[in-house]
Assembly symmetry: C2
Homo-oligomer: 147 residues x 2
């Protein structure tokens, strides 16, 4: 069965002067359907399951172009590899469970104020930030208690 083409993705890509190739469309759809930031390896596997063969080198290139165009944001969970998520999901941070790997989002309520503060007091213009939290989710805290 042929995968239905998501026309909004196609449009989104073309608006950015990017050709709507099968790999690019599939990656956009994947990112839209996934709540957790994904890495290149898992993207390749996901596409394989949809019978879309994409070389890792190609996926790396796509992620770079998408990042340059501002479609996605690279995220670092300190695993020695990059993850990515849709830029439209911005204004939040992640709570990464170090036990089960689950990722929760939390709203970003303080960085804008903090960046203003940094500019006023340190005369430093913030363009980009990294802010992630690692620890134990509710379930894994309970599990740990029961040991």
């Amino acid at each position: 069965m042929k995968q239905k083409i998501n026309h909004s993705c196609k449009g989104e890509l073309q608006q950015m002067d990017l050709r709507a190739t099968p790999a690019r469309i599939a990656i956009m759809q994947l990112l839209e359907a996934t709540q957790e930031p994904v890495d290149v390896g898992s993207i390749v596997v996901s596409l394989q399951k949809k019978s879309i063969a994409a070389d890792p080198a190609t996926v790396f290139r796509i992620m770079n172009v998408f990042t340059q165009k501002g479609l996605i944001v690279p995220i670092e969970f300190q695993e020695g590899k990059m993850r990515y998520e849709l830029a439209s999901k911005d204004d939040h941070h992640h709570l990464v469970c170090e036990n089960c790997g689950k990722v929760e989002d939390i709203e970003d309520t303080l960085v804008p104020a903090l960046e203003k503060h940094i500019h006023s007091y340190h005369h430093f213009l913030v363009k980009r930030h990294v802010m992630e939290f690692f620890g134990l989710c509710k379930k894994c805290q309970k599990k740990e208690k029961n040991n």
Copy 2:
């Protein structure tokens, strides 16, 4: 001229059940003398200048042991490699200039409160966080203006 041995470093190492080897002592001294987080490559170069030849593999191993023992903290500036700084310098974040590379420290006034908030409202226990800011320092903002 022989480098004077910093006896406090030696003691610090031995307290942690680590043998006080020349490379380890020199790295501790380097970290104490440096305000910016350093990567393995720059450590090797710095030691060479002090006529201490240390293999990168050894430095990587030392950084891993120091991290495990809590002497240093790994820091990620999204350059594809790790940096490290003394753990005793903790409770601050970095303002990294993307133009000249300069690193300023800012006091951490909000993370403790934020982590409490995260535990109360999201039931997530934060054990570790990453929080860095990238942008333009005062000087580089001026330079950019004059173009």
